[in-house]
Symmetry: C2
DNA sequence: CATTAAATAACATCATAAGTTACATGAAAT
DNA sequence: ATTTCATGTAACTTATGATGTTATTTAATG
């Protein structure tokens, strides 16, 4: 099933942006991601709406970080992207009044909710500056961050 | 992103099959799921390969449970279906040697692995007979079975 | 031999992230 | 003011994989 790589891509870009002096144009970011400027604008727009980045039109314009990497968590970006669900697993809805279908869906749903809660909790524990730290340690990529 | 409802559907079917005396034809199962006999055969084939159901051709043929519901877990069926990944979240691979991309992907991957481990663990704790119990408790079916 | 039902191949449909094209809007440089 | 640069946005195409469909073959029963 096709994967949604927006989270990974946006995190990647944000950390790179932190090391730049000037705003990064959509064109520049797109070439960084081997993609298209419009795709970049589309996804970055969600981050701007939440206040993580800002955009400026015209000469010298482009995208900049609006707040510090240490104030942005994986969860923040995950939410800003607005993914409908993190799971490929869905529930059937052929017979919503069939007690078996209800029991089955309830059992699956319980597990998905618990697993997603754990995932979101872990995402909330990681700020983007932690990932930038790994950069300094490259190529050994030693575990200097406090994450588990 | 489109959901994969095969797990829910197969669990639903297996529990219904447990209440039948004769083999269920793909046709019958398909109408139960509002779908097509070929779709049923395609998915059931995976369960048969793992020994959870058996299929018989010709007159009086169809699909039957090969083992007890109490010996089948959600995890068993999940594995038998052979989903590639439970997550819609994917990792970028534009620059596999970029230390930032590596750090980002590692962080995401760590979380996904932990969340999936929890999910699989929970799936392993639920056997199909547990879901069938809910059936007896359902108001519309109280005449079906009173003991529990 | 006729009928039933699975097995299989080949193809169509659908949803959605991603990619693309085209044009409008706004800001800075000249 | 005009040109240039870059975002904003609409509309469309592409790619992918579960799902759906049609047609044919294989096997078992009556």
């Amino acid at each position: 099933m096709r994967k949604d790589s927006r989270l990974s891509r946006m995190l990647h870009v944000l950390i790179h942006m932190n090391q730049l002096d000037a705003p990064a144009t959509s064109e520049k970011i797109a070439s960084m991601l081997n993609t298209n400027p419009v795709v970049v604008r589309r996804t970055m727009a969600g981050l701007r709406d939440k206040g993580y980045v800002s955009s400026v039109k015209g000469h010298g314009g482009g995208w900049s970080l609006a707040i510090s990497l240490s104030d942005i968590t994986l969860l923040d970006i995950h939410n800003a992207i607005g993914e409908s669900s993190v799971f490929t697993i869905g529930l059937s809805d052929e017979h919503t009044s069939c007690p078996i279908e209800i029991a089955v869906n309830q059992a699956i749903s319980d597990v998905l909710i618990e697993a997603e809660a754990l995932l979101l909790e872990r995402f909330r524990d990681v700020t983007l500056d932690m990932l930038a730290v790994g950069f300094a340690d490259y190529p050994l990529n030693q575990q200097a961050s406090s994450g588990e």
